[in-house]
Subunit: 131 residues, 2 copies
């Protein structure tokens, strides 16, 4: 927990929000600036800046909750599918976005770049060297 | 498995790609059109169109692999953090993007919208009714 973390304040009830789910370790609530209506955030109660700071097992457990919520969210919004995203820039208390989406809505698309000749292989080798 | 699924073809070795990881159930390989250099995709070997089509437990297991890979990817690219995203639109074989990112790089940002008065509460109630 950090004193100025907005998500820690939400968990402590110091900032009012619309919760949709809570268990011992995780909560889910509505994003007040949604990418699409119904957009929710799932967070651990414990303050971890990024998802890789969580123990692996805890990250897996959180994703069980995420899976349940995504199914409910798809039913509630009657959309084609649920986008899942961990952005990480805005609030440094790890959070998983679940955004109801429809085919062709153009939300959350990625801008792509490319590699120089042989460069991708070098990245692959480098990544493998850390596994 | 579906005959025309590009990711199923990659798993079967019919399309050549740069793998960085493989175990019994999941593989990870380089995205040839990266959002940022080092961008990898993690997929289950079994063909599931969307992540909510996976059994919850299997999705959690995949995220253990994702967590390991994200740590290696951050070390390999020396970036500030790893973005995680499930887009779902392009290839309907569920896949998790891991994209190395730096603060302020402006990649993978969300466009936001809003709610009418009282509308967010209604969405929250609807979602809860499916949990």
């Amino acid at each position: 927990m950090t004193g100025d973390c907005i998500f820690c304040k939400i968990i402590k009830g110091e900032i009012k929000t619309d919760f949709v789910y809570e268990n011992h370790d995780y909560v889910a609530f509505m994003d007040i600036n949604p990418v699409a209506k119904g957009h929710i955030l799932v967070i651990p109660k414990k303050h971890y800046p990024f998802f890789i700071d969580m123990p692996e097992k805890e990250f897996a457990e959180m994703n069980k909750v995420v899976h349940k919520l995504a199914i409910a969210l798809k039913k509630a919004t009657k959309t084609d599918y649920i986008h899942l995203g961990i952005e990480g820039t805005d609030v440094h208390h790890t959070h998983i976005h679940l955004v109801p989406r429809n085919e062709g809505d153009g939300l959350t698309t990625y801008k792509r770049t490319g590699y120089e000749e042989g460069e991708m292989d070098k990245y692959a080798e480098k990544i493998k060297s850390f596994l």
